[in-house]
Symmetry: C4
Subunit: 232 residues, 4 copies
């Protein structure tokens, strides 16, 4: 069962390799089937070039394994919590890509320094607070999901398709696993540009709100005019 | 009609991918046919590996669509304004490449720190002022073209084949779409060198005017002696 | 004799090229056969694309050449000393990769700024003291091994799979030559992230000890739950 | 005539592309045949993928074209002066590679921060003074050669296989065109490591003279023991 779902998740995981976002067994992508109430996710610690579609692990939203003999990604509890709390998302991608992870390690949100980022989200890329000792020792991966949700109390996950986890790295999401990976690629590009911008000019300032709004609405929402109508 | 023009523009767009200047559907290249008074440009939001020559959109210089069923690039109005105001140019390329975009986001022109840049243009790579709120909300893409033209009031677009748009990214041009892409590649190389130079020595100074002039005139203009005579 | 050992060492050396850790004839990987009391190591100054499995040099742990007509790597005495002093290691890899070498040249350990590093080792990546003139002129490569062992007086080489040699570069180890190379790849990734983190935020702080412990123990030791059980 | 020489120079030029040191028509490599008193050099402004061995231009040491219908590299006079003044060198390579050029633009020699550089040359990579206006306007390319030679008044070009030209970029040399390219690759690697080291630790100090000497003599000169004896 869930052949299509597993194949799509497998393909989305391989995109992480193609775009240079992961090395060795790093990173993971999942996708949810809202009707069936299950997700498929990469197995833990398996090399990308040896992974097959049938190796993807299927679980229900409470974490009970429904299909697959391998252990799911060690970050599964984070994915599940995000699917439960953000009903509008269909896929999640996580990787320790160089520049986005560097901002997470620096403990800084990514300031919106240009229109490339404004095309992606209408402001800085958010970062969570650091987890407490109790959160880390009791249920670490679930706590990671919770701290992301906490950070989004005032933010719309439909507008901000990614969050940095402090001291850890980025999680991105989208309508599908593939769109989640594309958002992770965009995030890494934006993070690289921001790092270079701050190297050139440590005092670089954020874009004016009217220009952020313009670019974001050009690409997203009811007045969007970027792309082809039939693809909307 | 315009098969040759569309094929050339398609090929020039693919060069953006080959040289790593774009990811996903970013960037766009156009070329003008001055005799027929039309341009061909990349369609908006279409993936490079799925794009065919016949997908290129043909418009007249006032922006009326002459051929093609897809929507043209969302930056089309910027391209058209530059073709109307800079009669010496034949092609335009735009991409959010990392280093040139970082200078645009830093709000700084690229200082002429070495002969690599002097081979490209006889001074700093210019940057526009930031667009006003009114310019952004009324006719954003046309205003982007206008602010580039305004920046070139005292500059010759035949000598300076690129401009950074503040907070946005680079536009480059040339005699053809392909030459515009080559100029974008050169610009990205120059921007990367300048960023690294400033990292090593934040107090690095601009090249002496006599050395800038020498290098620029060695490669461009009546006394040029770089390259092969028959290719001039 | 030792065909399997030589083939494994040859393959592990080629991984250095595949992952971009070496150029020209730089770098070297070895593996020990504890039962037979021999190691196989890359020959000195031979190009990777011309190297064959039978070119690997076999020596006993005192450095007597047992097989092979080529000269062993000039760093052989360093490898041998580490095999003699660290009985738990099975393979060693050395390369002048950009970021790890930059920390070695900077004379700084790599601070543990995020969970990517905590997955690798439970603290900063250690760096040796600088060798004295006498150590350099008398028996340089042996002294390099000794100064690493000295740095590990209070550290477990089973927990810290790499060391930076001050002013020189990284040595990494693991259960096999291949695992040593994988640890060198991880080290280079970690070093690159740390360099970028410090560029973005020179005041970035180390991860809390409880989070370092959590990530390290998630991946290593008796309570590890990363990866597949059968692979343990 | 000179088929072998032209083929070797053509191959050495293509190495510049393979190692990512050049884009478009940048860069050039030459080799001298001391017996015949001629050099072969890349033609000016020709694309690497269209260049054939027979396109290489052959000139005598005074610059008289002996073979070939294309114009030689615009930097030919620099190459010729170095061949006349440095009798021990057999090939020269020039490229505007990112990191070495950044040091040239920064107006700084590359400090010897680690053993990777000490393997290459026994001290900082030298940089010329800036050319005067008169030197630039009278005979620019010859003056570039002269200012390199001037910088080497107290240095042995057999020990220091490269020089940065202030505000311009690196020239490297060796026993052949291919060795000159390899030295340019090493120089670029060293320059990248030095830039990263200075980013991490702006106060990083040069290696102790005894360690520089050790590494340089391990690889070069009568007591060298790196590499295979038969290859010496």
């Amino acid at each position: 069962m869930y052949q299509d779902l597993k194949k799509r998740v497998w393909e989305a995981n391989l995109k992480l390799v193609e775009y240079g976002l992961v090395i060795l067994t790093f990173g993971n992508v999942s996708e949810v089937d809202r009707k069936s109430g299950v997700i498929a996710i990469k197995p833990s610690g398996v090399a990308y070039d040896q992974m097959k579609p049938e190796d993807m692990v299927v679980l229900d939203l409470e974490g009970r394994q429904v299909e697959g003999t391998l252990q799911p990604s060690s970050d599964t509890a984070t994915h599940l919590h995000l699917y439960r709390e953000f009903p509008q998302i269909g896929g999640i991608a996580h990787a320790h890509s160089q520049f986005a992870t560097a901002f997470a390690q620096a403990g800084l949100e990514i300031p919106c320094l240009g229109t490339t980022q404004a095309d992606f989200c209408p402001g800085p890329v958010p970062i969570t607070r650091m987890l407490t000792e109790n959160e880390v020792t009791s249920d670490y991966e679930l706590s990671t999901g919770k701290v992301i949700v906490e950070r989004f109390e005032q933010l719309d996950p439909g507008h901000y398709p990614a969050c940095l986890v402090s001291g850890h790295g980025p999680f991105a999401w989208g309508k599908s696993g593939l769109e989640a990976v594309e958002n992770l690629i965009l995030l890494e590009t934006i993070a690289g540009m921001a790092a270079t911008t701050l190297q050139i000019n440590p005092g670089a300032t954020e874009l004016e709100p009217y220009l952020i709004r313009k670019h974001f609405e050009r690409k997203h929402g009811p007045r969007a005019y970027y792309g082809q109508r039939k693809e909307k």
